[in-house]
């Protein structure tokens, strides 16, 4: 990725964070988790590395993306809105209001969404099914997955890890948004998922541990995966900071649900020049 493109994606990531912030101030939403994975999703959608067609969401050659952390609806709806998967006024009209067409978790009725998610531990298995089907159909596109690190305490994740490895689903490129914070606390304070890279390696996956806020690193890692010649499924442990980009909420375990105070809103508006 040349510098011009890199800067373009970086600017987009900042723009998307600003959009998310405005949405949350107006309507509420999952702010901290959206900022955590903002650089991963922006790279996928705006760097050209993931294929999609906003006018034909069922385009057979699209890369599939399953957002297994279904509480990342604020960011995905903002990105899909920006990319015109649906009319721009939907977010204002329908997000967490009106007919509630767009609620607090990801819904497959929204154009651009493959599966409804919200309960954790489903995405990797759904992706495995799609990846297997695509291999059988000789479709050479990839299946991207975005998971959370807290999600990895679900047993079904490891059922999927065994299955994808055994069935040589090297068309899966999964990201773990490894911000080390779950819904109420730092993960290490109540559970120990240990070293995810070692665990997935032991399950037969290609594993990469990267800075999840480095757009360049995210892009080059995906490219590296695409050029691998082995049959293993791929996982990228993206080390991130929950709330990355807004000083008042960064790395604060209370911010999964806690909203912004009036003062914090004013500060955030200044920071993002809203």
């Amino acid at each position: 990725m040349n510098n011009e493109k890199l800067n373009k994606v970086k600017n987009k990531a900042q723009f998307i964070r600003k959009q998310i912030l405005e949405t949350v101030i107006n309507k509420g939403g999952h702010l901290a988790t959206s900022f955590s994975c903002a650089d991963i999703l922006t790279t996928l959608y705006y760097s050209g590395i993931m294929k999609y067609d906003n006018k034909n969401e069922k385009w057979n050659k699209r890369d599939r993306l399953i957002i297994s952390k279904g509480h990342a609806e604020t960011i995905i709806y903002n990105i899909l809105s920006d990319l015109d998967f649906f009319p721009k006024n939907w977010l204002l009209k329908h997000y967490r209001s009106g007919k509630y067409l767009m609620g607090g978790h990801i819904d497959s009725k929204i154009p651009g969404i493959e599966f409804s998610t919200g309960s954790l531990g489903h995405g990797l298995s759904l992706a495995s099914g799609m990846a297997l089907g695509m291999k059988k159909s000789k479709n050479r596109s990839n299946v991207f997955v975005l998971m959370s690190d807290g999600e990895c305490t679900e047993g079904s994740v490891w059922e999927a890890a065994i299955f994808a490895s055994k069935n040589k689903l090297n068309n899966i490129i999964a990201f773990i948004d490894n911000n080390q914070i779950s819904a109420t606390d730092f993960l290490k304070n109540f559970t120990d998922i240990g070293n995810l890279k070692e665990k997935f390696t032991a399950f037969g996956w290609n594993c990469f541990s990267i800075n999840g806020h480095s757009i360049k690193k995210i892009y080059t890692t995906i490219n590296k995966i695409k050029n691998l010649k082995n049959n293993k499924p791929n996982i990228v442990i993206a080390n991130t900071i929950k709330g990355k980009g807004l000083n008042s909420i960064e790395n604060d375990p209370a911010r999964h649900t806690k909203g912004l105070s009036k003062m914090e809103i004013n500060d955030a508006k200044k920071q993002f020049k809203i």
Binding site: F115, S116, S119, H122, S128, G129, M130, L132, F163
Partner: protein
């Protein structure tokens, strides 16, 4: 009515073909010509399965003992246009992977078909871990899924053939024991029920393996002025079934299912919502003995569902 000793001998019915083998054989015939069909199991065995596995290895997947993963994977495959048939012991796939069925099949409307073997007390001596006595209840509360409960081989064959191109998620409760016979009358899938023995006001309404137990006694029931209906589709219920029972005076629902949420409750809710004047007598498994071990007949006897107990119960209530 007959004596207890005579009735017992009537229960010895010769095995012909297991329902699960009919399912796999029928699917095999279709899969040979349709490469989109995939059979997924969780390390299950069956003689018919060995043939399928050997001849269609690319359309068979033993995904191991991982029910949650199996359901979601099947949903993913369905999204890519594949026709997935999941074969498992009923209790394992339904209760272990219930959320996956709810979200990845029912919310997603993924046309995955679950064939669960061992409904009711089929795995009698294997105990409550293997019994499936709540399957209709827990699936009936999920929108978009169909529930079938076939009682003979011809019905299974018809359901499998329908499933090849149907667009809904679906569950088929398969008894582990063979009914050993085919009723002369084929099922009409849309209707969802068939009359085994006609009557103008009194009916036993039953499902699955109980039909062959009752069928052996049909002459006795005819003399007792009571008919038999096979309710082989539990969800959705067709209007024609409501029309059929609307004229009844007495209905005896008989099922190897928990007292809550089975066909007895399905009929009860029809009677209530349509304000029908019908005496409904529910015969099912007591909550208190649901988690017991024992032979199938022992367990049925404990729930007053041995055939002589059923006959006595019907006689007492019809005579009122």
């Amino acid at each position: 009515m007959m004596q207890k000793s005579n009735l017992k001998s009537n229960l010895k019915i010769k095995n012909t073909n297991f329902l699960r083998d009919t399912f796999i054989d029928t699917l095999f015939k279709r899969a040979k010509k349709d490469k989109k069909i995939i059979l997924i199991c969780n390390d299950q065995g069956a003689i018919a399965l060995d043939n399928y596995r050997a001849k269609l290895p690319n359309q068979f997947l033993n995904a191991g003992i991982s029910e949650q993963n199996i359901i979601s994977t099947a949903a993913g495959l369905a999204k890519e246009g594949y026709k997935c048939f999941v074969y498992s012991i009923s209790s394992f796939i339904l209760t272990r992977a219930y959320e996956q069925i709810k979200l990845d099949l029912c919310v997603a409307k993924a046309p995955v078909k679950i064939y669960g073997v061992g409904c009711g007390y089929s795995y009698a001596i294997d105990g409550p871990t293997h019994h499936s006595t709540e399957d209709t209840a827990i699936l009936n509360v999920l929108p978009n899924i169909e529930i079938f409960s076939p009682s003979d081989n011809a019905s299974v064959e018809k359901i499998v053939n329908y499933h090849i191109n149907s667009t809904s998620p679906s569950y088929v409760r398969i008894d582990r024991e063979s009914p050993g016979l085919d009723f002369k009358k084929l099922i009409n899938l849309n209707q969802g029920f068939r009359v085994i023995l006609d009557n103008n006001k009194n009916y036993i309404i039953s499902t699955g393996n109980f039909l062959f137990r009752l069928y052996g006694m049909k002459d006795i029931f005819r003399k007792a002025n009571i008919g038999i209906i096979d309710l082989f589709k539990h969800k959705p219920i067709n209007k024609s079934f409501i029309k059929k029972i609307a004229k009844c005076k007495n209905i005896f629902s008989i099922e190897e299912h928990n007292q809550n949420g089975g066909i007895g409750d399905i009929i009860s809710s029809i009677i209530t919502s349509k304000k029908l004047k019908i005496n409904l007598y529910k015969m099912s498994l007591k909550d208190s003995s649901t988690f017991d071990y024992g032979s199938r007949n022992y367990l049925l006897r404990k729930n007053n569902l041995e055939i002589y107990q059923i006959l006595k119960f019907i006689k007492n209530n019809l005579g009122k």
